[in-house]
């Protein structure tokens, strides 16, 4: 086993495997990935063409010219076939480029994400796009009153909060709750979003722990005494020893228990 895995890491350098490009891309090795994708013939190999574009996007040195080339490659992928998986990914990457890799108006970014969501609403990338769109509405639409920003983002829940990607869904609900708290909005919806995030769950130990504290603190602020006490107890029962918030949370629970006696 030991020899197998560590040995494989070495062997990967010697003999390129079919997934080499994607492995490199997943490992932040953008230049290596681009080299791997570009070495082999590309005609008709649409996933590989997507790999060329996805790796070029971050191949150092990153430049506006490269970003423009990537956009052209992705548009070509969509022009050849607008419905297959590489095309869906190309559409998503185009939205990401508009949002993060080159200057663009918010309206263009919003439209690009909506195009991904409407093209294939059940696709995992639609879920990613809906989550990003929620952030645009929450933080990049100063023309909207705060309640409308929050409502617009929350309305994306059927896609952004889909359980096909539970970690992403949990993150989306936490993002909704934290945006509301940032804008000083504290109502039952915030508690509901945190509860949804908690119900979906996350493998990230620290996020899961923080969620329990957030639930307790928000429930307490909303006057939901029993719920808050329950969340404090749950946190205290599951917190790791290295959590420096333990004593503070315990004291908040004790104070709450005393307050209503």
């Amino acid at each position: 086993m030991v020899v197998g895995v560590l040995g494989a890491a070495r062997a990967a350098h010697a003999a390129p495997a079919p997934d080499d490009g994607w492995q490199n891309l997943a490992g932040y090795l953008f230049r290596d990935a681009h080299g791997a994708f570009s070495r082999a013939p590309i005609a008709g190999d649409r996933p590989r063409a997507l790999g060329v574009a996805a790796s070029l996007l971050n191949e150092p040195p990153v430049s506006p010219g490269k970003v423009a080339d990537v956009e052209a490659q992705l548009r070509q992928l969509m022009a050849d076939n607008s419905a297959d998986d590489p095309a869906i990914y190309a559409r998503y990457l185009l939205a990401r480029i508009a949002h993060l890799h080159r200057p663009a108006e918010t309206a263009e970014v919003e439209a690009a994400y909506r195009a991904v969501v409407t093209a294939a609403p059940a696709h995992p990338l639609a879920q990613l796009a809906a989550g990003k769109l929620a952030l645009v509405l929450l933080y990049q639409r100063p023309d909207l009153p705060v309640p409308e920003r929050i409502a617009g983002a929350a309305a994306l829940a059927p896609v952004a909060g889909a359980e096909q990607l539970p970690e992403t869904a949990s993150s989306y609900y936490r993002a909704l709750a934290e945006a509301a708290l940032y804008y000083n909005v504290l109502d039952d919806r915030v508690l509901g979003w945190l509860q949804r995030a908690d119900a979906i769950g996350t493998h990230d130990i620290m996020t899961a722990t923080s969620l329990r504290i957030q639930l307790a603190e928000v429930a307490r602020a909303l006057g939901h005494r029993e719920e808050a006490l329950g969340y404090y107890r749950q946190y205290l029962a599951t917190a790791v020893r290295t959590d420096s918030r333990y004593l503070t949370a315990k004291e908040h629970m004790t104070d709450l228990a005393k307050e209503t006696k």
């Binding site: 890491a9 997943a26 990935a33 990003k132 993002a175 503070t248």
Partner: protein, 536 residues
């Protein structure tokens, strides 16, 4: 022909001698591997040149070689100043040692991905070198650690971007006040450590009084910019704990750096906020007892003052403990910097209680380089190094705190143990950026000496803090944009690799979730910057 001067000849001979000696050492070092190909040579490199550490590693390496006669383990201690360049050259040239000490601020994600092997899967298996330990033999290597290697942001052993463990740590350090027991006893009439901040200030005063009466050149506190910030960190934090909770946007009882900066820019706190001002006033209280000229001195100077008996106390990390204990020719004690209680009428109004050190994370992690000729052997040595027996030996010899469950803390290191029964920290004005630290140091002199004044500090330094805090928030958004951009490509890689086996909870899903969270934080910061422009 004119003869060269004798000094020139001497220098040339010395140079030639040094060259031959170095070449000889290098040849001897590589000798066994070249002579006997059946011998596996494992080299491990670190920058911990503090006394005791090298000796501890040497003994553990000797134990390992006794157990595996066909293996030779070589230790390479590289001075910190040369480390970065040495490591980059070694990694790029493919000649890096098998095991290398990792630090999150030294090793970028790209460097980890390219040059180091993840050890996540091995950490979930038991450590075979704990097979004789009934309580650990069936426990995973990761869970054999006291803190179970929780993957917190900023730890050195885990990459939150790559979602992999790359290092297995060996030790833990805290910050303590080291003191000359003879000088304290002479000042107080007994060897007693202060329990409160007032007692600490009173101890400083007693030492100063005695020095004045006896005409001895002794100051209560060894001073340097480095050591003074070790004192202010705990005092600033303890004086503003309840305020930090009101600034905690996400309500998870933890004020992050970004939340602190956002709320600063939103005008929710400033240096003049009473709790923050109180923290500055604590420096007034002890600043007069620092060695004169402290702001121009560095940590080595402060250490020298203490070791020469010219200062009664030195606040520093326990990484210096081995050096202090081995070099001081007087008995040394240590205690945690005392803060104040809630009922302290002067400083305790916004205090919750002692600061928790429970999340002090494990350090000195070694990672396995991809160019290792014997990665399996390197992994095996890493397991041996972090077994209960070896960690006990490491802790005993180095005096550094152990990290493996059940390893007894050496008597000499008992005062270094992290305080677990404590509260969350408050607002520490120096933590919000590197530049904020510089601004604090630049103006800190206003808080020491006979004319010390928190109000003067606030009046003079507020403009500079305002500038650096805003710039830091802007800088964070730029840095964050770069990592978010990179993740767009990385997520595409995971999508292709994992879609056949299911994306739910896979790395694709986890990284996309992480990206969404980080992107939300970035956009929140940008919203703040736009909504709260700097005053003209």
């Amino acid at each position: 022909m004119k003869r060269p001067p004798l000094t020139t000849v001497a220098v040339l001979v010395l140079l030639a001698g040094t060259y031959l000696y170095s070449a000889g050492r290098l040849l001897l070092r590589r000798g066994p591997a070249a002579v006997d190909p059946s011998i596996e040579v494992i080299r491990f490199a670190h920058w911990q040149i503090e006394p005791g550490v090298r000796e501890a590693f040497d003994e553990i390496a000797a134990d390992y070689m006794a157990l595996h006669p066909k293996v030779r383990v070589e230790q390479m201690d590289i001075p910190g100043r040369a480390w970065k360049q040495w490591l980059r050259t070694g990694l790029a040239g493919g000649i890096a040692p098998d095991l290398v000490e990792l630090a999150s601020y030294e090793n970028s994600d790209e460097m980890l991905a390219r040059y180091f092997s993840p050890i996540t899967s091995y950490l979930e298996q038991p450590n075979p070198y704990n097979a004789d330990e009934p309580d650990l033999k069936d426990v995973s290597w990761r869970k054999s650690y006291v803190a179970e290697l929780v993957p917190l942001e900023g730890v050195h052993y885990f990459s939150t971007n790559l979602l992999e463990y790359y290092g297995a740590p060996s030790a833990m350090v805290t910050v303590r006040v080291f003191y000359n027991r003879e000088l304290v006893k002479a000042a107080l009439g007994e060897d007693r450590v202060p329990q409160t901040f007032d007692e600490f200030v009173a101890l400083c005063a007693a030492i100063q009084r005695r020095a004045d009466v006896m005409h001895e050149p002794v100051t209560p506190l060894a001073g340097s910019w480095f050591n003074v910030t070790k004192i202010t960190d705990s005092l600033f934090s303890a004086s503003s704990q309840t305020v930090a909770l009101t600034l905690d946007i996400s309500r998870d009882l933890e004020l992050t750096k970004q939340e602190g900066l956002i709320n600063y820019v939103r005008g929710r706190w400033s240096l003049a906020t009473p709790a923050v001002r109180t923290g500055l006033q604590t420096v007034e209280a002890f600043g007069r007892y620092l060695a004169s000229g402290w702001s121009q001195l560095n940590r080595e100077d402060a250490m020298m003052q203490f070791l020469q008996g010219r200062a009664a106390m030195l606040v520093t990390g326990t990484w210096d403990a081995g050096g202090i204990l081995s070099q001081a020719d007087f008995p040394v004690g240590a205690f945690q910097m005392p803060t104040f209680r809630r009922d302290d009428p002067k400083y305790g109004r916004w205090t919750l209680g002692p600061l928790s050190e429970a999340n002090t994370f494990a350090g000195v992690p070694f990672g396995i380089t991809r160019t290792s000729k014997h990665p399996e052997r390197a992994l095996d040595f890493l397991r041996f190094l972090t077994s209960r027996k070896s960690n006990a030996k490491f802790s005993r010899i180095s005096t550094w705190l152990p990290v493996i469950k059940g390893v007894p803390v050496p008597e000499v290191s008992e005062a270094f143990q992290p305080i677990e029964e404590g509260y969350v920290g408050g607002v520490n004005i120096r933590f919000y950026s590197v530049e904020a630290n510089q601004v604090l140091l630049q103006y800190l002199y206003l808080l020491s000496g006979s004319t010390a004044s928190a109000d003067v500090f606030i009046a003079r330094a507020s403009g500079a803090f305002e500038r650096v805090y805003r710039e830091e928030l802007e800088r964070l958004t730029r840095v964050s944009r770069e990592t978010l951009r990179q993740k767009d490509s990385v997520i595409a890689g995971f999508y292709q690799l994992e879609r056949g086996t299911g994306l739910a909870r896979a790395k694709f899903d986890r990284l996309a979730a992480n990206q969404l969270t980080v992107e939300a934080e970035r956009l929140r910061a940008l919203r703040t910057i736009a909504d709260y422009p700097a005053a003209k």
